[in-house]
Symmetry: C2
Subunit: 318 residues, 2 copies
């Protein structure tokens, strides 16, 4: 077997390394691993590495880098409907610049304080900048998986979609005013921890859309063995994105997206009122964008079926 | 406060980030963090990054790299007297070379199979080679800490000491036959998992000596607020190291050391028989090298006090 991309690697690992055990209810290939520690309580584990290039650029301040590294990990915990509790950090830095380090940890602290996280371990090395964080969370009630979507469930997203990617697209087009407008979405995403826990009582599936709405929704559909109908106009974005980008770039921003760190989840329609209440409580938009039905993922726009072409993202095929 | 080395960084973190919580019985600054999950059971967590340069060189085969990355993490679990159960891997690699990857995981598998470890998660990115592993372990009986050494306790080490470092010293001296003799100790260290668990019933303190016997024993003494008397001749090494290195290099290899991944532990003398039994059972030398006494760390050799000068190791001051 030739390993050509991340999916091949995951397949290779599943076939060649022990990845299953009876107390591990979710293992490699999911957002988080799940370890059952009692009849009601589980711990969830996730790890993510952030590097200059794919995850941040030289334009990011050390505060932004610290913040975003932790945010991307917390988003995986949010997608499981869990509460993050502890974290470990293995950081590799070119040199010990006190100012840089203090600012980097200022970004970390903004999130760790907000969510009462405890730093319990780590490792520090000298080398090209690279930050690996591991977060340990615990379930509040149920744990949310990608595989539970049921026919006729509503499909929701939190927040506005495509803003982080639009900032990059506007920047490439030298539309710097527009790009700057969404820079905060790119560099300072808000992991939806509170909402993840609130919907964990009733949602049938959930994923964070850090790899883009189309790709991540497709994972829910594949794992749940369902199809979906999405009304493109219902996907909340920003007027300037909808008005100033041509269709190709608009689909790329909203559906290709990535780096949004919003949640996409499904729930039976009897929870609509509850979802409105959660949206009000956490002052965060939660929008119904379609429903689970059929066998495929179908998008409509202005009453017509559209077939947007979107580039995928794989660290090894770009 | 200016952050000049790893200790400064740890101090900065303890003062500026939440690192304590009532269910966390050991936190940042120890080999592993300890999370109490019931009256008898705890989970321990450790993370280590391995990089080309400080941890392996271009001469290492991918099998060696995989093996050693996991071994160094497992050694931290061994030092706590715990059993490793699960691991996560965040790897950054320059490209997806199938052969390299398969050989790398062959090294990983050698250890994961032996210790029945389960790979439960990870992350893969493209960039300069860097491997961050997190291992989750659980206690068998007691958890071993660095802080429990008591006056009159015996001090022991497992295996032979200084072999990994001697391989490097011989290589620098172009004594290639001698260097090659200990290459296996450098590239293929054996984490003392079984012995760590066996001594967890009675040892008063334990540490792995991956940073060198002198430095790591000093940590036990500092944290236990004790001194020690070490008979240099009692420290088991190899004849060629003792015979062919001058005193400066000999002390550097045996006391400065590093990369040995043996355990140094303390125990009341009433456990001597038990320790012999454990040594026989696991076919591993366990040698008494001195005792806990006084306020300082004192070395003797041929009945005289020696004051070996050893270079320390800090990733940021070399």
């Amino acid at each position: 077997m030739k390993i050509k991309n991340e999916n091949d690697l995951i397949e290779y690992l599943i076939n060649n390394i022990q990845t299953k055990s009876k107390d591990i209810t979710r293992t490699i290939g999911d957002d988080c691993a799940v370890l059952k520690i009692s009849s009601k309580k589980s711990l969830v584990f996730t790890t993510d590495t952030s590097l200059e290039g794919p995850h941040f650029t030289k334009e990011y301040s050390p505060v932004d880098i610290g913040y975003k590294c932790l945010a991307s990990n917390l988003s995986d915990i949010a997608a499981m409907g869990c509460r993050p509790r502890y974290f470990l950090m293995a950081i590799t830095i070119p040199n010990l610049n006190s100012d840089w380090i203090k600012n980097f940890y200022k970004g970390i602290r903004e999130l760790s304080k907000k969510h009462k996280l405890v730093l319990i371990g780590g490792d520090t090395n000298r080398g090209p900048l690279s930050i690996s964080i591991q977060v340990i969370g615990e379930n509040k009630k149920n744990i949310l998986y990608r595989s539970g979507a049921k026919i006729n469930d509503d499909i929701y997203v939190t927040g506005n979609i495509g803003l982080a990617r639009a900032s990059l697209i506007f920047s490439q087009k030298k539309m710097l005013v527009e790009s700057k407008k969404f820079l905060k979405n790119l560099r300072h995403p808000i992991p939806r921890i509170d909402i993840g826990q609130a919907i964990s009582e009733f949602a049938s599936s959930c994923i964070d859309i850090s790899d883009g709405l189309a790709k991540d929704l497709n994972i829910i559909l594949q794992q749940s063995k369902q199809g979906a109908l999405i009304e493109f106009e219902q996907i909340p974005s920003a007027p300037v994105i909808i008005n100033k980008l041509d269709d190709k770039d608009l689909y790329e921003a909203v559906l290709g997206g990535g780096e949004d760190y919003e949640l996409c989840f499904t729930a039976n329609r009897r929870f609509r009122k509850k979802i409105n209440y959660i949206s009000d409580k956490f002052k965060t938009k939660i929008t119904k964008i379609g429903m689970i039905c059929g066998k495929k993922l179908i998008y409509t726009r202005k009453g017509r079926i559209i077939r947007p072409k979107i580039k995928g993202f794989d660290h090894f095929s770009n």
